[in-house]
Amino acid sequence: MSGLRGGAAIVGVGTAGLGEAPGFTAMDIQALAVRQALDEAGLALSDVDGLFCANMSHTFPAISTLEYLGLRPRWIDGTNTGGSSFVGYATSAAMALQAGLCDVALICYGATMRSGAGRMVPAAEQPTYEIPHKPRYPMTAYAMAAARHMAEFGTTREQLAEVAVAARGWAQKNPDAFERDPLSIEDVLASRMVMEPLTLRDCCLLTDGAGAVVMTRPDRARDLAQTPVYFLGGGVASYNRAVSEMPDLTTTAAKDSGARAFAMAGLRPSDMDVLQLYDAFTINVILFLEDLGFCAKGDGGSFVSGGRIAPGGALPVNTNGGGLSFTHPGMYGVFTLIEAARQLRGAAGARQVPGAATALCHGNGITLSHQATAIFGRAETL
């Protein structure tokens, strides 16, 4: 079994500028999230000596971040795999902590997609042979995955809508969520078709927001202010950049990242109490439930039906309301870690999953291009 299992723990989480933060920069709200995460852990910025950071607005995100925060980290990981980066960092932070490259690892992200640029900022480089056809990234790729899943397995728009309705149900229990009005299957189906077969309500929000996660080794974690949330396993996988290079649009690399994470954790899907799956679009949740082994390939649509992943359902998924209803500032991955930590501490308020001892976080990058999985647990799971 890997030495990384139980080799690190989340000791602090923070968010800032969720929704709209006019007049603030990405670096401003990121700094506030970082302070909140450190404050609740009982740590200071001067304790941070490892930085794990990516974004879409800065050419050198980690360097701009360390300058703004006044950090002089002795270990930096700026691997940018898109929105999945931060879930991947859980594993690389555990690795750096266990190798002694750092003692306090900070994972952070901030963006002002809503009030700043006002639009999703496309990456500078785009696939050369797709661009002449004018795709609308990232929506085109996910609509194609949904269309293929529907054609191959009979997945319906109602089943996609179940994912959005479940997310809204959780968001209604989360005072920080951006969208909290009631939402029905009928509402989703009747919302404007933006990239057939996906409606507006099949697509994530575009908000401002920042998130931060602090990790350290278990010996130190036990002396800090919060109940430690232990890293049990992690894995990443990627096969392609462009969606036209994706071998099978109905099977993502989550199949491999998930298997790697479960192998390291020594756990199975049936051992998971709560899931945080990167829901940029409703189809994502169906794909990841299948690829991570919670149901058979092709069964994801019927699996989510009848409110199974909604509040009161058998499998709690995206208990903060997800990218669909909670927040989505361009890259969402860090928020999966934050919600998992809050659930495992028993500190999730009205949306708390009773007795949650294990949590799976899954990050998705670019256009189903990179997948990262991380599994966490309470002390009794070590």
Partner: protein
Amino acid sequence: MNHPLPETGPDRQFQSHVADGHLWIQHCSDCGGAIFHPRVLCPHCGSLALEWRRASGRGTVYSRADLIQKPKPGETEPRHHALVLVDLDEGPRMMSRLPDVAPEEIRIGMRVQARIAGDPGEYAVVFDPEEAAE
């Protein structure tokens, strides 16, 4: 020693090959794999020995999506922009469009034929329904 470069880059080679109005793709001389998008090495086996061959141009729609934009001022109908992924009979997949097919008529599984569109140096591959092609 600095690795020698091919005479021209793969994107320029693609542009000069398709200038004859037909779709050309690379094939690996070692493993035989068909390759698109154009590259300097084979993504199947790593070989540098690639050759251009004229492709059949035939393929099957693997998936589709249709961007529906709100009507612009002065317009009454929403604008559609339909995109497809086409699996070439030779194997590789590419993103493209079916410019002469109404978005609602595009079906996953429909057979299509490649056509080279655009201006010299900026050619792109689009598709027509197979039966409509020559």
